[in-house]
């Protein structure tokens, strides 16, 4: 399955969290252990130089996938293969060599920068820890270069994070992420804490950097408009599973899965002034107690007995991408073509 183009291959990855009450309470109140399946069997590949976006509503497991890919969580099941190396099986010194090839950008630029460190030290940390600079002068020059690349001034290295606005802090996070010359960036909601005009600056910057350095992005977001702008392919998640993955264009013009269709029609759109939209009924079920069969069936207008009973597997769609839906497989859905 993996080819020369593939940079990251995620295969049937799952992550479970034990959210049981303390042992004593469980014994006294006769409760069972409670396991939250945050990610339940997700598979996808990312090719070099592309941007794969994962979208979904809160609690669908998209951020957990980002953390699994970065190695911040260890998967309960499945494998993550980065450039042909299985991250779970690799020796720790070799993992260190791999680590500098991918970096992460977090959502909140206020929480992800150490307030007591000067910006120069924050950006230099990965360079120092991976031994990428030999002299102090070289380090300083590299930090200055990184700051220039993200649209700040080399003089900003002597300032503290609180002296910067939200958008500028996110630029610092990006400079830090770029400092070890990574090939792959995992971006967990990098613009959702920012105002729209600043968001546009950061999205443009990310696209420019991708073109310049041939970066590959895994982009996590709940904002479909942002995703349609930045991604080459989009994966839609619902309750810990991928329900559809395809080219951005196909996802937005011909969404196949009923959940994707629902999300797409729910996007507030500037073109919609004064128009009514049909809201979708229902809410995301409790992930502690997910529905049987297809997790989306209680909200799905096309659900039948099979959907309630049997969990759908990802099937290849002739046009592009994959979708996990019995109704699509059986041809029970009229595919809406968006203009």
């Amino acid at each position: 399955m993996s080819s020369a183009k593939t940079l990251l291959e995620v295969c049937d990855v799952a992550k479970e969290f034990d959210v049981s009450r303390p042992w004593l309470n469980r014994v006294l109140e006769g409760q069972d252990k409670q396991i939250l399946k945050a990610v339940d069997g997700v598979s996808f590949t990312i090719n070099r130089g592309e941007t794969l976006a994962l979208v979904g509503e809160s609690g669908c497991g998209k951020s957990t996938v980002a953390r699994l890919v970065c190695g911040l969580y260890t998967p309960s099941r499945g494998s993550i293969v980065f450039d042909g190396v299985d991250m779970a099986k690799v020796a720790s010194d070799e993992l260190r060599g791999l680590r500098k090839r991918f970096q992460m950008i977090f959502q909140d630029p206020y929480a992800s920068l150490n307030p007591r460190w000067r910006v120069g030290k924050i950006i230099a940390e990965p360079i120092v820890s991976h031994g990428l600079a030999t002299t102090r002068a070289e380090l300083k020059a590299r930090v200055g270069q990184l700051l220039t690349q993200v649209g700040l001034s080399p003089l900003d290295a002597d300032k503290f994070p609180h002296e910067f606005s939200g958008g500028q802090r996110q630029r610092i996070s990006i400079a830090r992420a770029l400092s070890s010359n990574p090939e792959f960036l995992v971006c967990d909601e990098p613009t959702s804490a920012l105002d729209v005009s600043v968001q546009a600056q950061i999205l443009n910057l990310m696209k420019d950097l991708q073109r310049e350095f041939g970066l590959t992005y895994l982009f996590i977001s709940h904002n479909l408009a942002v995703v349609s702008h930045i991604a080459t392919r989009v994966g839609v998640m619902y309750l810990g599973r991928l329900v559809e993955i395809a080219d951005t264009r196909r996802i937005f013009t011909r969404p196949l899965h009923p959940y994707t269709q629902m999300l797409q029609s729910a996007i507030p759109d500037l073109k919609m002034t004064g128009k009514q939209r049909t809201p979708v009924a229902g809410e995301v079920p409790n992930p502690l107690n997910p529905p049987t069969g297809c997790a989306f069936h209680p909200r799905c207008p096309h659900a039948n007995e099979r959907c309630r009973r049997e969990r759908p597997n990802m099937i290849e769609h002739p046009e592009s991408g994959q979708v996990a839906c019995h109704a699509v497989e059986e041809g029970r859905i009229d595919i809406k073509i968006a203009a």
């Binding site: 105002d195 507030p268 500037l270 809201p279």
Partner: protein, 343 residues
């Protein structure tokens, strides 16, 4: 939307200040707008633009040390910005309702939904306890809570985020107010729930004839919900006008930049248009037009006027914009329309 002769809410030259040790910060600087009965006025702006403070000032919930330092707020023909605590309390909830961003913090976690609703109803309407409870169940049904008669005795933590926001809306509607201040009512919610809440707000506004001041940073929400929109920047109104006009034919350079910066599904622009820089801090608002350091057209106005003199709202296209480019009485009358973006 027809505008009756006397608007429901008039805000005239409102100024909100925060005295600090380093001097007085002006968070809202001389803004004026009106809301007609039954109208939805959207107020958009980036964080720190002063939109939430304006809403808080209207319902008398401005937290000290913030204070109204000038101007008037006239509701239903009566001045309300100088009322005492008890007097504004009678209007708040009864005539002006409020919906806030986070539905979890707007509800008391220790009381059942029913108790919070009946308390509000009994405070404002002359009903017996049983009547109040019946009304509470009706309200919950109206905002779309299934099995309302049973759910009324549940606590806030037993509701999901979207359901809680429905409860908060029913609280705001409890006394049939004429105006609702909705401050980021959908920001904490997922996109599918957001669509449900917007539809609900629109339906209720229409059925009850309630005017809504909808404060949000999300232009998409405004586009679908509002009749008119005021765009705020650094404590001032940059542009105000009918929503379709402001979105499709913005006149102020800030609004034009803002509209271009919003990514939208289906447009295949390689880059978004961006406004360089960021909004000034309250301690360092530039002289003249607050937007002038970021404005690309600052040199199109003669005599450095943008950096010296603050523009007031001038007629521009079918909206009004605070920009000297639209000062047709002065020497400037550059056609700004060439920069109109189409979204």
């Amino acid at each position: 939307m027809t505008t009756p002769s006397v608007p429901l809410l008039q805000v005239k030259n409102l100024r909100i200040e925060f005295p600090t040790r380093r001097g007085i910060l002006v968070a809202v600087d001389d803004i004026s707008f009106e809301i007609a009965a039954g109208e939805v006025l959207g107020v958009v702006g980036e964080s720190g633009a002063g939109k939430s403070l304006t809403g808080a000032a209207v319902i008398g919930l401005l937290e000290p040390p913030g204070r109204i330092a000038g101007g008037e707020i006239i509701f239903n023909g009566k001045r309300i910005d100088n009322l005492g605590f008890e007097d504004i309390r009678k209007i708040r909830g009864r005539e002006i309702g409020a919906i806030f961003q986070d539905p979890l913090t707007s509800l008391n976690p220790l009381y059942t939904i029913g108790r919070q609703l009946t308390e509000t109803i009994e405070t404002h309407l002359a009903l017996t306890h049983t009547q109040a409870r019946t009304r509470a169940i009706e309200l919950l049904e109206e905002v779309g809570i299934p099995a309302a008669a049973k759910r009324i005795d549940h606590y806030p933590h037993q509701f999901s985020g979207g359901m809680r926001q429905r409860v908060v809306i029913s609280l705001a509607l409890a006394a049939n107010p004429k105006l609702i201040i909705a401050d980021e009512p959908t920001t904490a919610l997922d996109v599918s729930i957001q669509a449900q809440i917007i539809t609900l707000l629109k339906k209720l506004g229409r059925e009850h004839g309630t005017a809504v001041m909808l404060i949000t940073h999300d232009m998409g929400v405004i586009a679908e919900t509002a009749d008119r929109v005021a765009v705020m920047y650094a404590g001032r109104i940059a542009e105000i006008g009918p929503v379709a006009e402001v979105i499709h034919h913005p006149q102020h350079p800030y609004t034009i930049g803002l509209m271009g910066a919003i990514p939208s599904v289906g447009d295949n622009h390689e880059r978004l248009s961006q406004i360089d820089g960021s909004m000034p801090r309250l301690t360092a608002i530039p002289a003249g037009c607050a937007f002038n350091p970021r404005c690309t057209r600052v040199n199109d106005v003669a005599n450095h006027r943008c950096t010296i003199e603050r523009p007031s709202l001038l007629p521009a296209g079918k909206t009004r914009a605070a920009c000297w480019l639209h000062d047709r009485l002065g020497q400037q009358s550059t056609a700004i329309n060439q920069h109109t973006v189409t979204v």
